[in-house]
Symmetry: C2
Subunit: 553 residues, 2 copies
């Protein structure tokens, strides 16, 4: 295709959940939508976070006009520290989103150099050839927007994360009218959130959990521990209202819960009545029936306040028999074991545990649009073309089917990270690929990229441990200066003979090698490695990492 | 309590799912019910299986009269190889169960010395002071029994795993009458399966999946891949019937699927019509609409046939666009990621995937009794005392509540592994504890016990890798024979200076140590370790395992 096309290039989040990031390019101008992170799967040993490979943006660094954030969840903003440390461009976000971003950049000492620009829903701004309109949507977080981007070939709408909550607890409704107007005006391409595209019907609004939670607050006799995602501002607000109604004081426990609540209170999203909040040190001074503890740790995170409370390891949060613990959250797949461990510990302490097991009533709702909401959005916007975002391959597939099923878009396409889509006012086409992938980051420092080889080594070490053979060679004679030293970690053998046999094998391998081979340390190490490996596997049925080290002395 | 008591001592399965094992003791006679294994959680790195600690049985080895198996699932028989290698006592089981056990013992070369004794449902046998009646129950596997054990103080009933399937596909019904008679006769203690005690209502029978699967077979146009647990003999039989009905030939793919089906055919549980089964090499010779492939790998196991087929890595099982893949199974918690990975790969190959996502109709049923069945059993048996078995702490708690709620047992008690329960004809009491716990086994060899320290080392290595410092000391001078060698694995630093700094730190630590300290290698290694650790953590924010090695030459 020619030069007069608009390019849409997903760099993350299309083909996986998390690390959402997408570039939109017209000639020499690029804007980026979101810069998220992903939490690693279990087999990425020692990796703390995963962020998208932005090689494409770095190669085109002069063209990047800015990063526009749809909302403040980690999978949309968590990659910012690393990206900004490589590519310092202006960042646009709503007030609440930028407050989260500030904290994050501060931690990485990037805040002073950052150019954060607040955007307001309903107020347009221009970046190069793009006219951008943030449009208010509803979600499990507050101050979230979709983006309408007017480009030279037509209007693109990116929904961000959303559901259509018809009674948003913050009184800031989903902006149906703006979407309807865009639909009238004409939309070239809709990029829509796929997270819940496998759920029929409508996602309940945030307030749908109120009746059941009200019941639980009403009938709870002793202390009430209420746990939810710390970013669930709506839920925290509701828990405070219910605590107030049922004559309980509220203590906040857990760093993330504290932090989120403070931001929400500063920005006016939560406004608890005077005297409702108490310091966690005061919990013990109040009768149990007058206490509600908002506590972080719904996913059984080992160091979270709730996990520690569950094993009597938290100074202020002690679980007593008869206390009630509510998990107002979902189980993120993969976290079942740690969560159920925490629940078991709570049971052992004779606490009543209420979690979202399908039998506890409506105590949690999703923040993402179900099928009917996705169809409603397509009906409102009437896009010519459709591309699903945010999801595994199977979600993207199902979402394409849903869009096609509405009969509206002329064409719905599935693309994955790194694929380049080119659009004119009348056509859409996959035209190529750019570098894309996952960057693994250790220990939260943005510079600590973990290479694949490191992960492979860790995996090997984790499965079977290590056998190290240290061979000393006399510089003068070229012979062993002493018997080889064998050291192991994460590996042990019960039989006495195996280690001395291993030493003999090393000696034999050295003896049987020619003088020329002996001078080639790489070769001789490889020979020793192979011989030891064979012997150890045969005699122990295990496959530790074998590391010969040769020292010339 | 005195000597005239019956002891019930759970060694596994009470406080966790898996490794079911329970000792029943009267004076100098012990019988053991089941000898299961458990699959390790992710953080038990490199551990293949987990089995119960049987120290108590080994300390009382002269008293153990035999092991009685309720059925052939791994969590009931998988610990046998290790137990028999330490304590070779007779093993009692039904025909089908023993066939599984034989294969397992053969693998471990233990079959020749094993004393396997077949028991028949309805036929009593005597072991010391115990009269044992195996009673037929229904479950997801075939040939399963509960055990009624008549003891000097009264009758104990252990349900094994069961559900009350009122139309068992093998024509061998749940033996309601025997349980009713026991109830009339009087039952002292009921030990009942807790697995599904959190599910209201009744568990559907095995045949309940037939209508929906029939529909799927009827409407499938191309190849049909049918995956289920390889021990689900009922399900395999049903899949073969439906394949026959819908004019498809059946190929079996996967070692466990092959093996299970062969046993079931040998014992007459499955009797496919002549010509139904084809060799997997013939799949390609038949039109797609005439093929049904029974394939193992419902849990996304990396080396399973289905996982390999999903990435075009299986010789005979190729997934073509339009093929249908049914997962007639549940997602075992913790396996979500690998299963959804496989499903995503299948979607990429344009296969239709039908799995138990709550929207696919009834394509799988559980093998365990739900609440009404548990209550029915309690009503039939009218036990004086009740103790739940098979479950996490929260299941045992809920199950006690269910039993109490029926109003029948005088007393329901919760005990966990290692706790000793003593009974007379009129009393039940927790009286002490015996050694119990989990033994971690590497690589499937029964001798390869993994110590905690090994797991801790592997975990450390897996999170941050390894830094090894090799220091050579000249025997004559007591000084370093050369600069220290630093080797890393699973750990890397980007900055050049760090490694040379680390070498200098080692040199300084040695220099600053007194002659006396230098002679104490353990001390000097610890000093070097501490100094290096501090330096590396400060400069990399990471915590690799630090291993100093000192060589005297």
């Amino acid at each position: 295709m020619g030069n007069e096309t608009l390019k849409v290039i997903p760099l993350g989040g299309l083909g996986e959940f998390g690390m959402n990031c997408m570039a939109i390019q017209w000639k020499d101008d690029i804007i980026v939508i979101d810069a998220g992170l992903m939490f690693p799967e279990d087999d990425l040993l020692g990796v703390d976070i995963v962020v998208p490979d932005i090689t494409y943006l770095l190669e085109n660094r002069d063209k990047v006009r800015g990063i526009i954030l749809t909302h403040g969840h980690e999978d949309h903003i968590g990659g910012l520290p690393r990206i900004l440390s490589q590519l310092n461009v202006p960042v646009y976000g709503t007030e609440f989103t930028l407050t989260y971003v500030e904290g994050k950049l501060e931690e990485h000492k990037l805040l002073d150099d950052a150019d954060l620009i607040e955007m307001l829903p309903g107020e347009n701004f221009v970046l190069g050839p793009f006219k951008i309109s943030p449009i208010r949507v509803t979600h499990s977080l507050v101050d979230c927007v979709a983006l309408a981007i007017r480009t030279p070939v037509g209007t693109i709408v990116h929904t961000g994360d959303f559901k259509i909550d018809l009674s948003s607890p913050d009184g800031k409704p989903f902006d149906l009218h703006s979407f309807a107007e865009l639909g009238k005006e004409g939309v070239l391409l809709l990029l829509q959130d796929s997270t819940n595209c496998d759920r029929p019907g409508y996602t309940p609004g945030e307030l749908a959990v109120k009746p059941r939670l009200d019941e639980i607050f009403a009938r709870t006799e002793k202390r009430l521990f209420f746990s939810c995602f710390s970013s669930s501002i709506h839920r925290i607000k509701l828990a405070m209202e219910l605590a107030h109604k049922h004559n309980r004081k509220v203590a906040l426990i857990g760093r993330s819960m504290d932090n989120s609540t403070e931001i929400a209170m500063d920005l006016g999203y939560i406004d608890p009545p005077q005297g409702l909040l108490i310091h966690s040190g005061q919990i013990k001074d109040l009768p149990p029936e007058q206490v509600c503890v908002l506590i972080s740790g719904t996913q059984g995170e080992p160091m979270s306040a709730l996990s520690r409370a569950a094993v009597d390891n938290h100074k202020h949060a002690r679980i007593e028999p008869g206390d009630t613990v509510i998990f107002s959250s979902r189980v993120i797949p993969g976290n079942e074991k740690p969560i159920y461990n925490v629940i078991d510990h709570l049971y052992r302490r004779k606490a009543k545990v209420i979690h979202d097991d399908g039998k506890s009533g409506l105590i949690h709702v999703s923040g993402h649009a179900s099928q009917e909401e996705l169809r409603l959005m397509i009906n409102l916007l009437r896009p010519k073309f459709f591309v699903p975002v945010h999801g595994d391959y199977r979600h993207l597939t199902q979402h394409v089917e849903i869009a096609v099923g509405t009969g509206i878009p002329e064409k719905a396409m599935l693309i994955e990270d790194g694929e380049v889509l080119e659009l004119t006012g009348t056509s859409i086409e996959k035209t190529g690929k750019v570098a894309s992938g996952r960057i693994l980051i250790d220990s939260g420092s943005t510079a600590d990229v973990v290479e694949d080889i490191i992960i492979r080594d860790r995996r090997h070490l984790s499965e079977a441990g290590l056998v190290m053979a240290i061979i000393t060679i006399d510089k003068m004679t070229g012979k062993q200066a002493g018997p080889p030293e064998i050291v192991t970690r994460g590996f042990a053998v019960n039989e006495e003979g195996i280690m001395s046999d291993a030493r003999n094998i090393i000696g034999r391998t050295l003896e049987e090698s020619s003088a020329e081979e002996k001078r080639d340390w790489i070769l001789i190490k490889e020979k020793i490695r192979a011989d030891l490996k064979r012997y150890i596997q045969k005699n122990t049925q295990r496959r530790p990492m074998i590391m010969p080290v040769i020292l010339e002395i």
